[in-house]
Amino acid sequence: MRISDYLKIDCIKIPLNSMKKKEIIKELLTLISEVYEEIDEEDAFKSVIEREKIETTAIGNGVAIPHARKKNITKVYFAFGITKKGADFNAIDEKPVNLVFLILCPEKKANIQISLLARLSRILHDKKLRKKLSNCKTGQSVIDLFTQYEKQHFS
């Protein structure tokens, strides 16, 4: 499983216009729903917010991975954005968030969700990677960065 396989240039936004948690989530969901007509943006938004209520998905070091499992989808949908300034995401380290990954997974494929979240959290522990990612100006540079990193670190 490679994160680079899930990153699509049309679902990456740099910088994001929004600065608030819910608006950021909406903005990323809009990207997905504009590319994939089958995604009901409002419905997905409710699910992501429900998940946020359980515990924050802002894992620290400026990274948040809001996500949800959906009954009515059959594949993974992925979006990424970088905020202009750090946004308040109720992070576990209370630091502002600037790197936001949004993931929608099929409900029946929890194993994919586990693998994706695990891989993403592990990669984003790398301080150098986070810095390079924060400096990305285009969607293609994000895809290239993940492609190169995963090629280097994962067989």
């Binding site: 998940r51 515990e55 924050t56 998905t57 499992r69 969700q113 586990i114």
Partner: protein
């Protein structure tokens, strides 16, 4: 000689199970407090908190029972485990595996 590793998820069966093991001749066991990975990741690592329903059946704690035994006792242990707990493949009450033992050190002959 085999090492039996028994994961008991419903710990309320522990006392009855140990008594039943003694009845069939299991001479001793080491019992460890343990926690399943599913419970740890969904409760202690915030990013996986959304998977709590997925790991819904996982107990906060379980017991890992280690038993060193002769091969012929193993079918009896399985029978006793079924009698006491009613475990099967789907129940998640218990799981048991056996591992061959090559050599023993520090044991009486």
């Amino acid at each position: 000689m085999k090492l039996i590793i028994l994961f008991l998820n419903k710990i309320e069966y522990l006392e009855d199970l140990l008594s039943a093991f003694l009845e069939i001749g299991v001479p001793g066991a080491t019992i460890l407090d343990s926690v399943g990975m599913g419970h740890i990741i969904s409760h202690d690592i915030p990013i996986f908190a959304g998977l709590r329903d997925f790991f819904g059946g996982s107990s906060p704690t379980n017991k890992t029972i280690l038993v060193l035994t002769k091969n012929d006792l193993i079918p009896k242990m399985d029978e006793v485990l079924k009698d006491v707990t009613g475990y099967d493949k789907k129940s998640g009450i218990a799981k048991m595996i056996s591992v061959p033992v090559d050599e023993l050190f520090g044991f009486e002959k």
